[in-house]
Amino acid sequence: MAGVAGGNDFQWCFSQVKGAIDEDVAEADIISTVEFNYSGDLLATGDKGGRVVIFQHEQESKNRPHLRGEYNVYSTFQSHEPEFDYLKSLEIEEKINKIRWLPQQNAAHFLLSTNDKTIKLWKISERDKRAEGYNLKDEDGRIRDPYRITSLRVPVLMPMDLMVEASPRRIFANAHTYHINSISVNSDHETYLSADDLRINLWHLEITDRSFNIVDIKPANMEELTEVITAAECHPHQCNVFVYSSSKGTIRLCDMRAAALCDRHSKFFEEPEDPSSRSFFSEIISSISDVKFSHSGRYMMTRDYLSVKVWDLNMENRPVETYQVHEYLRSKLCSLYENDCIFDKFECCWNGSDSAIMTGSYNNFFRMFDRNTRRDITLEASRESSKPRATLKPRKVSTGGKRKKDEISVDSLDFNKKILHTAWHPKDNVIAVAATNNLYIFQDKIN
């Protein structure tokens, strides 16, 4: 995989970058979620301003078949607006926390997008024909004088410029007291779950005025609160199974057949703490920021502050694989706590075949790990290495005293340039990396 020494290794090349080049980044333009659809044909991004932008993969041109097609803007719409909760005198942010696509069932595309409080189901449909030749009105839409109508004609469908319309089909509101951090579509394609800090709800896609609460970890006395839900996901094949992760570094797998309220887990995943590396920050860095099932459904991956762990669902007492993302930050935890970076929530993703995983880091670096060869690579999303089809150069952070040429020292890392959101095409080796307000798309060179 990873573009290290030759052979059959893939080489990641720059393909496209979307977004403004300005140094001054508008807060609303910061990308907050990235997601490919099931076929990989569509790529959706959500931003802090509540907008959703969908890119579509164009077919390769016949003239230059060695180039993969590009992703171009397909649809842009305002998904969520800022709201005001009058009861609590609090503003509800319009930032899109997550987008999840529904599997395609007809010509239209459906996706779920959520902010802190409300989930919306959007239908994105194409219109490339319009009817012409109405009897009762002109082409301009003016009503025709009935006395002038002397013959009847059948309206015909004429081609028109492609128009992509996005319309909200369902709004799932008022079910979450706390901030929604995850949504996940179930494999039955009829239900989905939404999780906030303390509760998880199960919805039916057709029903907006009711949802079932399936997990509730809110203590009777809020003073006793020591743990929150950080992420949740449905199993890709078993529609009765889901997992949720916590701020204490644990994952619970629940079976909805066991009880209506899944407060008692079926499986409990936790790695025993290494007593030699215990510090005041141990709990914070163990907090899981993302959990993702593998496509096979056999494994799941969790991301905590410094590492990514792969778990076998059949083994609860420890992960089967652990990958260090940026271990050089372990000695800087106090500073990272002071500037709040230690609370950054990084996501992680699998490739289509589950042989590789990817996650982001600081300084616009992102990391990829090949599970078979155990090789890893650090790449950078930057305008400097953004020449068409330019191969990305592996980056390295120097940890020791001596900094080699081309290496960057830990103290020179830009902690404002964080890659929190990445996505891997479900079938091909195409990745989308969100770097603040820019979306980078990289592809492997070999087709």
Partner: protein
């Protein structure tokens, strides 16, 4: 804050102590490292308390972050209780009863009574900024929390009103009472937060419950006005 990775000399020394390096050191090294560890631990405690107080002045606190910081504070408190420094600090707090500049006074007292801190480096540049921040923030805290105070006493229970509000979900207001004691006393400094977080802080709890009912009442009134 940490824009381009500027090197911070002091924090590196504090890093190893607080970050739990866990290496073997000789006896003389051990004593000096333990004093710097105590100073680092104190600065971590101060930092955490400021963060907790600040995050309750934000529009809507990030619950995950609040919980993680509160757990860190509890951990520090446990460790300080075990080695006796906690008792010294609470005694100093009790001794210094001045309300407005309580924080500044306790900072000074803690530094003076803790010989370990004297021996090691005291994080001066950090605490000065802290104190300024704190004084400014405790004032805005009063402004924010002041609006929640209800001056008149609660009216006698009205069965009609009770029925009207019977289906109001009380859990709706619970977000405001995370880490009880946050909104109870506007003049409360960060060390009061410690009182409420630990199991031995009965006074903070009772004052918060009365404030909680005040808050509920305000919300009830708001609901009538909004007509929801």
């Amino acid at each position: 804050m940490f824009p381009k990775g500027t090197k911070r000399k002091f924090s590196d020394a504090g890093e190893e102590a607080v970050g739990g390096g866990g290496g073997d050191q000789g006896p003389s090294a051990a004593s000096s490292s333990s004093s710097s560890a105590a100073a680092a631990r104190q600065s971590l405690l101060d930092m955490s308390l400021i963060k907790l107080q600040l995050c309750h002045m934000l529009v809507e606190p990030n619950l995950c972050r609040s919980v993680l910081i509160a757990n860190t504070v509890r951990q520090i408190q446990e460790e300080m209780t075990q080695d006796g420094t906690w008792q010294i600090m609470t005694q100093a707090l009790a001794a210094a009863q001045c309300p407005a500049d309580r924080l500044v006074a306790t900072e000074v007292l803690c530094r003076q009574t803790d010989p370990a801190a004297q021996a090691g480096q005291s994080p001066k540049p950090f605490s000065e900024a802290e104190q300024d921040h704190l004084r400014a923030d405790s004032r805005t805290g009063e402004q924010v929390f002041g609006t929640f105070e209800i001056k008149h006493p609660a009216p006698p229970p009205d069965p009609a009103l009770d029925e009207l509000f019977s289906d109001v979900d009380p859990s709706y207001y619970d977000l405001d009472t995370v880490l009880t004691g946050m909104q109870s006393a506007p003049k409360m400094g960060p060390y009061d937060l410690l009182e409420s977080l630990s199991s031995h802080g009965p006074t903070a709890l009772s004052s918060s419950s009365s404030c909680r009912s005040d808050l509920n009442e305000l919300d009830h009134i708001m609901e009538i006005i909004v007509g929801s």
